[in-house]
Symmetry: C2
Subunit: 540 residues, 2 copies
Amino acid sequence: MQAVLGIAGQSPSGLEGAIQAWRDALGSEFVVTGRAELEAAQTTTFRTEQRVPAILRPANRQQVQDCVAIANRFRVPIYPVSTGLNWGYGSRVPDTDGCAVVELIRMNRIVDFSEELAYVTVEPGVTQAQLFRFLQERKSRLWMDATGGSPESSLIGNTVERGFGHTPYGDHFANSCAYEVVLPNGDFLETGFARFGNAQAAESYRWGMGPVLDGLFTQSNLGIVTRMTIWLMPAPEHFQAFYFRVDDDEALAGVVNALRPLRMDGTLRSAMHIANDYKIMASMRSYPYDVTGGATPLMPEVMKTFRKELSCGAWNGSGALYGTRRQVAEARRLVKRALRGKINKIQFLDDFMLRVAGRFAKPLGALTGWDLSGALELVRPVYGLTKGIPTTHSLKSCYWRHRSVPANLNLDAGDCGLFWCAPVTPAEGGHTKAVARIAYDVVLAGGFEPMLSITLLTERSASCVISLAYDRRIPGEDDKAEACYKRLLRMLAEHGYYSYRLGVQGMEQMNGGGGYNRFLRELKATVDPNCILSPGRYNP
Amino acid sequence: MQAVLGIAGQSPSGLEGAIQAWRDALGSEFVVTGRAELEAAQTTTFRTEQRVPAILRPANRQQVQDCVAIANRFRVPIYPVSTGLNWGYGSRVPDTDGCAVVELIRMNRIVDFSEELAYVTVEPGVTQAQLFRFLQERKSRLWMDATGGSPESSLIGNTVERGFGHTPYGDHFANSCAYEVVLPNGDFLETGFARFGNAQAAESYRWGMGPVLDGLFTQSNLGIVTRMTIWLMPAPEHFQAFYFRVDDDEALAGVVNALRPLRMDGTLRSAMHIANDYKIMASMRSYPYDVTGGATPLMPEVMKTFRKELSCGAWNGSGALYGTRRQVAEARRLVKRALRGKINKIQFLDDFMLRVAGRFAKPLGALTGWDLSGALELVRPVYGLTKGIPTTHSLKSCYWRHRSVPANLNLDAGDCGLFWCAPVTPAEGGHTKAVARIAYDVVLAGGFEPMLSITLLTERSASCVISLAYDRRIPGEDDKAEACYKRLLRMLAEHGYYSYRLGVQGMEQMNGGGGYNRFLRELKATVDPNCILSPGRYNP
C-alpha cells in the first residue's frame, strides 16, 4: 500500500529532514523522538506493529499548517490525534507504519462560550474534565454531555469519531458545528456560516449556506479539525434517572420494542443503555478466578450464579428523564407503562433520593425492596453520566481479567487488553437479539466474555458496544483476542450489522462500498496528493 | 465564467449532437425541445435571462447516468430539478445560460416504507401530496412533514435545498439519510450504511461508517440525488395547535426570548412561526388598492388600520404541541407561562375544537373572546401544516399585488412576481429585531411590503423568510423588485445575516468564504472536470 500512497520515496534523510524542519517550526521541545515516549505512542490496548518516528505538539492552527506543509515537503506522513485516548480503537497508534503522531494537546483553549445560546467553542486539546470544571466554575446552568471514556479525553476527538454519551445531547456529531479544519494541502477552511467573518449565526445554525462539509471531516483522513462549536444543554428544572432489571435472558427484544416508541415520541430524550450481566459484573469486580478454578471464559451458566450477588439481571437498563416536575412525572408513568410485564424491577432515582440512599441505603432497600447498597457504587457514576458528569468508573471494567486494577487508569500502559466493536442495528428487538446472539457465540467461542452495552442511540437505531477485555501479559492472548475480534467483525458484517466507528484494527471494513469508496479515493487524491494525512484511515 | 468552466468549446453541433444522443438514450418523447415548453422552463417568478435548450426526463437512475455521460461527451451542461417548483428561488431556471434541464418527475416511486421504523424511501419525483395520499391510503399512524410550498413539489427537491416545515420533523435535511447520488462523472454512490448491500440499519442510522457525504449533495452542484430515505413521525396521542397575537410592534424580541428556552428544553418540539401583519394580510386578501387610491407600497401606518378587520396583531405566532394528553397539557401551561405579559391573546386549538369552531364559529367567538369566524379560513391550513398536511393556501399570498388570484396556482405562469430571502439569526430577540428592521427599511424603500415569517427553526436559531411579492405585468416592477432584493441581501450580509438557502438570483453570495470556497472549487474540478452539472450553483 505504501507505494500506492506515494510515500515509497521516503528515505531516512526524508524523515531526518522533516524532523529538523518540524523542530525549527515548533521548537525542539515539541518534537519528541525519545525512545520511551515513542514506544508509548506505539502502544495501545492490543497488539500493533506500526512504528512512530516522532511526536509533534503544535501550539496553534498555524503550527498545524506548518506541520502539514513540512510533511508534504519531505513526504513523511502524519497522524493527528487530539488527546489520543481513543481506547479500544487504537489510541494514538496510526493506521499505517511510519507516521509522525501530531498531538493537539497544547491547543486546549475554550475560545468562546454563550450561556444564553448554550454553546462552547473549543480546541482539540480541551478535555471532558476541563469543560466540566469550566462550567462548574462559572456556575453555569448548562450541562455538557460526557462519554464513559476517560475524563481526560478530547471533546473534539470523540466528536470527529462520532462518539456518543448519555444525555439528550448524546449524539456528539449531531450537536456540533462551525469546524475549523486544516487541510492536507496546508490550507484551512471553516464550515457553515463561520466562513463569513461577520456571521451572527455561525455557532447556532449548523448547515450554513452551500454544501455541508462537517461530515466530511469526521471518521476521515481528509482534514484536521482544529476548532469546533459544541452545543450544550440547559439544565432541566427536574431530573430523574431510572434503572431496570430483566431476569429473562430472552426478554431483550421485547424491552427494545417497548422503548422505541418512547424514544420516537420524545418521551425519552436521551440514549437509553441496556447492559448485560457480564458488563455489569466487569464494572463491579474482577474475574472470579477462584470460582472457575482459573478457567476462562466465564460461561453463561456460571455468570448467572453471580446475578443475585451483583443485584443485576440478564439485562440491565439505565436511562434518564429531563424536564419540569410534571414532564418528568408523565415520562415516568409512560416508561413504567411501556415496560410493564416486560421487566422484573424498575427503580427511579433523583438527587434527593441519591443523597438519602447514600446515608440510609439499607433501610431504603427494605422500603423499596431493592437493595441499593450493593448497587450504589455502580449507580452513582452512571447516574452522573446521564447528567453529563465525566467519570473514570467505566474504565475499571477494562481490567476485568486482571487480578487487580491499577490506580492510574492508563489503558495504554501495555497490560490492558481491550477491543471495542460497535455494530449498529435498527432499534427493533429482533435485530438487537440477533447481534447479541452473534456476540455471545463468537466471543465465548473465542475464549472471552461477551460484555454488551446496547444503546438506543437515536429514535430508530441502536448501537451494541461489545467489549473484549483481556490481560495482555498472558502469552497468546493478543493473538486470541485479535482473532476473536476479527471474526466478530466479519460475522456481524455478514449479517448486515456494520459498526458506527472503526479502530485501526478493523479499518479494512471500510472497503466494499462501490461508488462511495471510489469517490472517497478521488477526494483523497485531490486534497492530499502526497497522502501525508493518516494514510489508510477510514479510506483504505 | 463559461471559459473557465470548460464549455467555451460548446458549438451548435455539440448541442445538436447531445440532443440526438439524449433522444437515443431516453426516447424522443422525453427530450423536449418545443418552444412553448422551453419558454415555460425559462420562466420563474422574476426576470431571468438564461435560456434552456432542452428538457430531459429520464425514467430511472441508469438514464440519469446516461444523461450525465452524454453531457460530458458533448460538453453541454445540465441542470437537474426534481419537480422544479423551487418558487421564490428560481423554479426550474438554471444558474447559467445554455443548460438542459433534467426533470426527475418520472422517477416518482415510493420504493420502501416501514410503519415500524417510521421511514419512507422515495425518488425525486415523489411529491408532498403523493406521500400524504400514500400514508392516508395505508391508514398509516405516521405523519409526514410538509412545507407551505406547493403540494406538488418534490420531497427530495426540498430536502436537498434544506427546506423546512412545521412539525418536529421540520428540518428536512436533518431527517433524511441513505442518499443515492449520480455523480457528474457518471458514476453513482450511496451514503451511510446503504453502500453495503446487506446493511440492516441503512434507513435508520444516518451517519454510517467513514466520512458522512450527505451534506455534500445538498445546496450543491456535486451530484444528483436520485433516491433518499425520509423519516416520518409517529402520530402523537394528542395534538394541540396554538396561535397568539402581539399588538405592540416592538414586542417581537421579548417573544423570541421567551420561546427559545421552550425550544431548547424540548417543550416545543416543532418550529414555531411568527408572521407579521403584512404576511397575514397577504394570505387573506389582496392589496387594498381602493384604500390607498392605487398607491404602493402599503405603508405601516395604513397596514395597522387593517389589523382589527383581519383579527391579527403586529406579530402573530403559530405553533403546536405533540404528545400524550398530559404532555400537551403541561406544554400548554409552560407556553402560557412563558408568554404571559408578552402577548395580547393566545388561543389553543385541537381537532375537537376545530370541528366545533367550524359549526359554531360565532357563538364560540363570543365565549372565548376571539372571533374565530374571521380567522378560521386562515387557521385551518396552518393548523393542517403543523400536522404535516400539504396545502396550497400559502401560495395565494404570492398574488397579493394582483387584483385576482388565478384558480391554477402556477407561480411560473409569468404574472406572479416573487422573491424569497431567508436570513438566519441566533434565536435571540435582538437579532430577530435587527433583521426585521433591515427588512422593513429596505423593502418599503424599494416600493414593496415587508412580509415576514420568522421561524424558530432549531433550538438556537431562527430563520426570517422575507417575501417580496409583485405583479410582473406592471412595467418596471421586475427591475424594481430585483434591485430591492439585491439590496436586501447585501444589507443583511453586511450585518452578518446570511441566508439558509439561495436562489439563482443571489448565488454570488456564496463567494467570500476563503478556504471553504477554494476547497469547493477543487472538489468541483475533481468530480466534474467538464463542469457539466449545474455550473455556478452554490459554487460560483
